[in-house]
């Protein structure tokens, strides 16, 4: 009996190689559905809470496994692909191989939450129209607008105008949520990061700034290019950003570390767009190039396909169509579309976006979207922080002794700075000593608290640093936080 049981155990451990591969693949997919690391339960002292959280973590693991299995076996469609054999290169394959009203200037158009409404930035003001063209609203407050973008989860219409003012308006009840003076001058490069709802502006000095409606100062300022920024695009996973500058470079940035990941030389892209599967389309002149990521993390963008239009057609804007392998190109003579295999997500989720929705489903979805409308305060660089714990302050405020020590060190450093000996009669000793005194004063200025406490000097409650040295019975007289 025992021998038979042992044999069974051995057989279970050694899986056939196919199943082992499937296991590894499933584990990789599971990670995506787990959405980050599990919580560290070791440091909890409360046993009841620990068991509750442990059982919840198990449930998360089970649901991630189920989702990974569903993705592997049950999703109906598979992504497009373009595979070459031998010495063929994908970018040489042409399209022929694959298949064979407003009468004034409109600077930008944006759809609102549905295809029933769109906003157009016209010469003087912006207007909101219904699908059949009836004008619904005239947005006078913004003035002449250069770019319009819609934040879907927050129902905010963001726009940038000629004098560099950023406006956010809530389209459900028409309130202007924020109007921010960027202070960087005129720009017409504006994109919304779909992952966190942050608006990025590209400026003529080569900086890219990111804004949220609740603050007057930008969240992030990145110096991307030596010259003006001509286009910005965001990867749907929110970690990658592509910018192009007039110096003929396209740079890929990692937004978690704000570091450059890759630079692509050779062309000045007037417009950039990411697809759902991570392909990057860049349009310059009458030529559109599609780059694909060979490595997973975003560093290996290389030529995947290209398309050149009739010479003389200037490409203004490229945009990938979601859930289809299609790239739309807007150019000076109209609009055309090309097929890019592997760019769209083949399996859509009916509750998120249904390309085949009926009007009843569309109305229901609109109501649900409105119920789930997020307040503008939820726009932040890292949206997963909602519901997370505030990290405890591990580093305590430095005690008085420590501050004094730091001050001494800073004064010493200021005193020991080597002064450059100036020539041509500018090396007066009085000026040198004055400059040295200034340096020491500046070093002292960074420690203002000690100055004040010296001046006060009266009897006051004992500070925290002294509280540690107090006996237990006198602790109630220590200053409370």
């Amino acid at each position: 009996m025992e021998v038979a049981l042992e044999d069974n155990n051995l057989m279970e451990k050694v899986l056939p190689p196919d199943e082992q591969e499937i296991d590894v693949e499933l584990e990789a997919k599971e990670k995506k559905y787990l959405r980050g690391e599990g919580a560290n339960l070791e440091s909890l002292k409360d046993k009841k809470l620990k068991t509750q959280l442990a059982s919840r973590e198990k449930l998360y693991g089970k649901s991630a496994k189920a989702a990974a299995k569903i993705e592997k076996w049950l999703l109906p469609a598979s992504a497009g692909y373009l595979e070459t054999e031998g010495l063929e290169k994908t970018w040489r394959i042409k399209q022929t191989d694959i298949a064979k009203e407003v009468r004034e200037t409109v600077r930008d158009v944006a759809f609102l939450h549905n295809d029933q409404f769109f906003a157009a930035a016209q010469k003087k003001y912006s207007y909101i129209y219904a699908r059949d063209g009836t004008e619904l609203h005239c947005l006078k407050e913004r003035g002449p607008v250069a770019r319009l973008r819609f934040l879907k989860n927050h129902f905010l219409l963001a726009s940038i105008n000629k004098i560099g003012q950023l406006h956010y308006q809530d389209v459900t009840y028409g309130d202007m949520v924020a109007s921010i003076r960027t202070g960087k001058g005129r720009t017409d490069v504006m994109e919304v990061n779909p992952y966190n709802g942050v608006v990025a502006l590209g400026h003529s000095g080569g900086t890219v700034t990111m804004w949220k409606p609740t603050s007057q100062a930008p969240l992030v300022q990145m110096q991307c290019h030596p010259g003006p920024v001509s286009a910005v695009a965001f990867h749907p996973n929110g970690h990658l950003m592509a910018t192009s500058g007039k110096e003929r470079k396209v740079k890929i940035w990692d937004l978690r570390k704000f570091e450059e990941v890759q630079t692509i030389h050779g062309f000045h892209a007037k417009t950039l767009s990411f697809s759902q599967k991570g392909l990057l389309a860049a349009g310059t002149g009458s030529f559109v190039q599609v780059l694909g990521d060979s490595s997973g993390g975003g560093g290996g963008y290389s030529r995947y396909m290209s398309h050149s239009m009739v010479k003389g057609y200037q490409v203004e804007k490229v945009m990938f169509r979601p859930y289809e392998d299609v790239l739309g190109i807007g150019h000076s003579m109209g609009w055309s579309s090309v097929l890019i295999p592997g760019s769209g997500e083949p399996n859509f989720d009916s509750w998120v976006a249904n390309p085949f929705e009926t009007s009843k489903q569309r109305r229901e979805k609109e109501v649900h979207l409105l119920l789930d409308k997020l307040p503008p305060e939820t726009i932040m660089l890292d949206p997963s922080k909602i519901g997370a714990m505030r990290p405890s302050r591990r580093k305590e405020r430095p005690t008085r002794g420590e501050i004094e020590v730091e001050k001494e060190v800073a004064i010493e450093a200021a005193k020991s700075v080597e002064m450059k000996k100036k020539t041509k009669g500018r090396n007066k000793p009085s000026k040198r000593t004055k400059k040295k005194k200034e340096l020491v004063e500046n070093a002292k200025k960074t420690f203002p608290e000690l100055e004040h406490s010296n001046i006060a000097g009266k009897k006051r409650r004992i500070g925290e640093d002294a509280a540690a040295e107090l006996p237990a019975s006198l602790k109630r007289f220590a200053r409370k936080n």
């Binding site: 749907p236 289809e324 989720d349 009916s350 119920l371």
Partner: protein, 453 residues
């Protein structure tokens, strides 16, 4: 080269006839759902607010008794009926489902009726009172032609047994035909004998309440006027366990799902949950009532219990949590003397001093009646998403908010101030004494003096 692009045929994704169901496709990829945590938080906030909007727990009041209600009994076999007895000897059977009227009356007792219980097969109703009588009644079978609302039938007792002293409580065994009465002593009776089959005397104080264990048919718990809780096995001649507390216990209830645990409703406003096998400390102390807790009953799921207290409120506690999840009160409801949790875990019935029985919903915002499966799923989703974020301040404030009547609010504020002052003083005493000399007692043992046997 091999090329494939996404091509979807419209037939696969749309329905042929309008009678067909719409096809639904799923892709659980998180990258398709930006800002899902913020959306979930917003849904939790909306769910918490909706719960408060739909919270209407009071279903109705049943009027009929002419004196305050002293005790109630559930019929284990018939969901819609409940028995109640009042201080002037009036026993009634109510139909709580649709009509909320008296179906049948059982006149006969001369003084207050102190205890009511029904046998497990639902045939025999046992009542006892201060007129030293135990009466056995046969419960009328509910018939289909029973729509005659005007006739309130009354029946004769099938047996009347007399005792020497006034009787304070009665409970029926879960399997078998023994029942126990509490008075000057604890008596075990058989349906057919006119004298008790067995008697337990313990000291000079009367036994106030009795409760048989649902799991073991021979074990029962009693509480006596000298602050004891005793656990008896009727096959033995004396108490198996005794716990002495500081104040007397008004009522005991066994957990139907974990029959070794029981909860005692105490005079000091707390409920103490004990493990029947280990009595040195309480498993859990449930503190929220401001005045004496008069009665306690467990839900059939074993996860919650309802208590009624002298401070005119009814509270629902989780079985392992220290504070109540819900409080019910009305201006017209005076001192609550008895509560029952209905056998389908949906309703709570309270009987109070103002001669009314009140029917409440156990979950205040629950939708009664038949619920479609889609509605059910939505309710479950709302519940789950609210529980996920209920520790965050905005949602916590909405979920926790309850309106308290002014006397209870003031009493709680006062007791909180007193407890804070006491704790501060104890901390200072501790700080000023040698370490280890002053020991803080845990709440679970604080009110227990000792355990005997």
């Amino acid at each position: 080269m091999r090329i494939k692009t996404i091509s979807r045929s419209v037939d696969e994704f749309t329905r042929e006839r309008s009678q067909d169901l719409q096809r639904v496709f799923h892709n659980f990829d998180p990258s398709l759902r930006p800002m899902e945590k913020a959306v979930e938080y917003q849904r939790a906030l909306t769910a918490a607010k909706l719960e408060k909007i739909f919270a209407r727990p009071f279903v109705g009041a049943m009027d009929g008794h002419r004196d305050g209600i002293s005790c109630m009994a559930k019929n284990p076999n018939y969901l819609k009926g409940i028995f109640s007895a009042s201080m002037d000897g009036d026993i009634r059977l109510w139909d709580i489902a649709t009509s909320r009227r008296t179906v049948c009356q059982f006149p006969g007792h001369l003084g207050a009726v102190r205890g009511l219980t029904v046998s497990t097969d639902g045939n025999v109703l046992v009542s006892c009172g201060t007129d030293c009588n135990v009466r056995l009644w046969s419960v009328p079978r509910p018939s289909l032609e029973d729509s005659d609302l005007s006739s309130e039938k009354s029946t004769e007792p099938s047996a009347v047994y007399t005792c020497k002293n006034a009787l304070l409580a009665v409970d029926h065994q879960f399997e078998g035909d023994l029942f126990a009465t509490a008075g000057a002593q604890l008596d075990i009776w058989n349906h057919n004998r006119s004298q008790p089959v067995q008697s337990f005397t313990s000291g000079s104080h009367s036994v106030i309440s009795v409760r048989f264990n649902p799991g073991e048919p021979d074990i029962l718990a009693t509480s006596s006027g000298d602050n004891h809780i005793s656990i008896y096995d009727i096959r033995m001649s004396s108490a198996a366990r005794k716990i002495l507390m500081r104040t007397k216990t008004n009522s005991i209830a066994w957990n139907p799902m974990e029959p070794m645990n029981f909860t005692a409703a105490n005079e000091d406003g707390n409920c103490y949950s004990f493990d029947g096998r280990k009595n040195e400390e309480a498993k859990c102390v449930h503190k929220d009532h401001v005045s004496a807790v008069m009665d306690i009953d467990f839900s059939p799921t074993g996860r919650e219990f309802v208590t009624g207290s002298y401070d005119r409120s009814v509270r629902i506690f989780p079985y392992n949590g220290g504070h109540s999840r819900e409080i019910y009160h009305t201006k017209r409801m005076q001192r609550v003397f008895c509560v029952k949790y209905s056998s389908d875990a949906t309703y709570v019935i309270s009987g109070s001093d103002d001669t009314n029985l009140r029917l409440w919903k156990a979950k205040a915002s629950e939708q009664l009646g038949v619920i479609l499966p889609r509605e059910q799923k939505k309710h479950e989703y709302n519940e789950a998403v609210k529980n996920r974020y209920k520790h965050l301040p905005e949602i916590k404030r909405i979920v926790r908010h309850r309106h308290l009547p002014k006397p209870i609010y003031k009493a709680k504020a006062e007791s909180r101030a007193m407890n804070d002052a006491k704790r501060r003083k104890d901390d200072r005493r501790k700080a000023h004494s040698a370490p280890g000399t002053v020991v803080t007692e845990s709440h679970r043992t604080r009110r227990i003096i000792k355990e005997v046997e």
